[in-house]
Symmetry: C2
């Protein structure tokens, strides 16, 4: 399969849906809606929503069937970046090659735009109905399960928890289990939840969901390790952000604890595990396999 | 009826449920969970969850039947206070007679504790199941409707939108429609959503829901007008916060635009409207009637 075309196509579907779901820049209060749109359309790769879509496709559903949930996950990811960039946390000026939200709109609006995006994610998910839900399909229960899992993955024992431990570990010697906790919680959980959300909405069944769960766990961690390596070895133009920022902030990363070579080896092992977990599936799982490889090979 | 006893009893039910729903202070990451609990248990009156409970009771349900949603609304209210108090927004040191969250835990943790509380609200709501849901009761659809309404009331065209307009209006001459927009959105919408949530979960039916909606709209606005008046006329000990803060910040308030007497008159009119909207209901609506009166008579 042609991954590049696949990613481009699904990214367009996600972008179009995000555009129609988000309030317009002319809707009151305009400055808030401008700030929300600024960060949502700041050039994200849409990895999480595409994973939700690709996971649903394994079980015969389409992007349209899970589009609200896919978009909601991207909104949660975006809100977390806006808040992380704030002076109170990472104090970053640059994100994906553009000034961060608070640099453009000020701290108050950036904070509130993040709050509004997080809130809107749950609003969108709760009206998750594919265009063509069969009358006998009880979509409400799986939707509630997905809301619960995504909220858990994003909350105090998920993404926010990982962020707290990350902050508390800055400038400290960090043991490997703490580093792994940060990575799994700060990044891995939401990626796992994205994969599971697609599978749950597509009625994957126990065995299918188990396979997708193994896949999601492996690539969730692999993704963050690859990010750490890019922060050491990438270049500013390709990555769209200042390189070496982790080291400057004294952040715990895989390369800083295990070295670059060992980190790369671990990421590749995780990709192998992810692909192996899909071995029972047919060619409809090809996008998931290709995304797993891409995650450690990407340059940004 | 004895409102004082009623409020005390329902407050205890809500507090007990919040305590069992929130992660313990000893759960990792402890500092985050301490910060979340600090603000949730900082002496809130629990007006919103009690309104959800009282609205459900009108239609024969009990507090236990809607307790998750009631608690979720209180978490959303709490997160909004933590974020509003941050230096980037109101920069308040004192809330309900105690140091604000960021004064105790620092800005980063306060910001993230707010994020986690908002996220947790939706996690709790999505597993809203009364202890004794009949097998044939399709609770999932009304739960999704409630999630959607609460998210809408809390989001960019609800509470967060009201907060943005409030910030943008600071120090400016504000026209009455703008003031009303701020009050309805910043406070009114979530109070209305609380009432509607209780009624929806209790299967109120169209006519019942219409009455509760009129009630919720009226007391939502009355509540904020009463708050404005308290900020002018209250005393620090009773209110648990610095008095006159609105005027100092150049905030638009009802007393500053209409004067205290006219503001009090409006609040009382709204209470009359709220009580009139319940005229078809029996004594099970007595708590809602009493709460409406209490809202403008309270001293904090």
């Amino acid at each position: 399969m042609d991954l590049k075309n696949y990613l481009k196509d699904r990214e367009e579907i996600v972008n179009k849906a995000l555009d129609s779901l988000l309030p317009g820049e002319d809707e009151f209060p305009q400055r808030l809606h401008k700030a929300m749109r600024y960060s949502v359309f700041a050039g994200g790769k849409r990895i999480r929503p595409i994973l939700a879509v690709a996971s649903a496709e394994v079980f015969g559903k389409t992007a349209e069937d899970v589009i609200n949930i896919a978009c909601a996950i991207e909104l949660i990811h975006t809100y977390s970046l806006i808040h992380d960039d704030l002076p109170a946390i990472d104090n970053d000026d640059l994100r994906r090659g553009m000034p961060t939200n608070h640099k453009v709109f000020g701290e108050a609006i950036a904070l509130l735009a993040g709050d509004a995006l997080l809130t809107m994610a749950f609003q969108i998910m709760s009206r998750q109905v594919g265009r063509a839900v069969p009358a006998n399909y009880r979509w409400a229960e799986p939707t509630l399960q997905v809301i619960q899992e995504i909220a858990s993955a994003a909350g105090s024992i998920g993404m926010v928890g990982g962020q707290v431990v990350d902050i508390e570990s800055e400038g400290k010697e960090v043991a490997f289990p703490v580093l792994e906790y940060i990575h799994i919680h700060k990044t891995g959980e939401l990626i796992l939840a994205s994969c599971r959300a697609g599978a749950i909405m597509a009625n994957a069944g126990d065995k299918g969901l188990e396979a997708i769960t193994k896949y999601g766990e492996a690539i969730g961690l692999a993704f963050q390790i690859a990010d750490d390596i890019l922060d050491v070895e990438g270049n500013k133009e390709e990555a769209g952000k200042n390189i070496g920022g982790d080291a400057k902030k004294g952040k715990a990363t895989y390369p800083s604890v295990l070295g670059v070579d060992e980190s790369r080896k671990r990421a590749k092992e995780l990709v192998d595990i992810a692909i192996a977990s899909l071995k029972g599936f047919d060619e409809k799982a090809e996008p998931l396999r290709a995304i797993a490889r891409y995650i450690v090979e990407r340059r940004k």
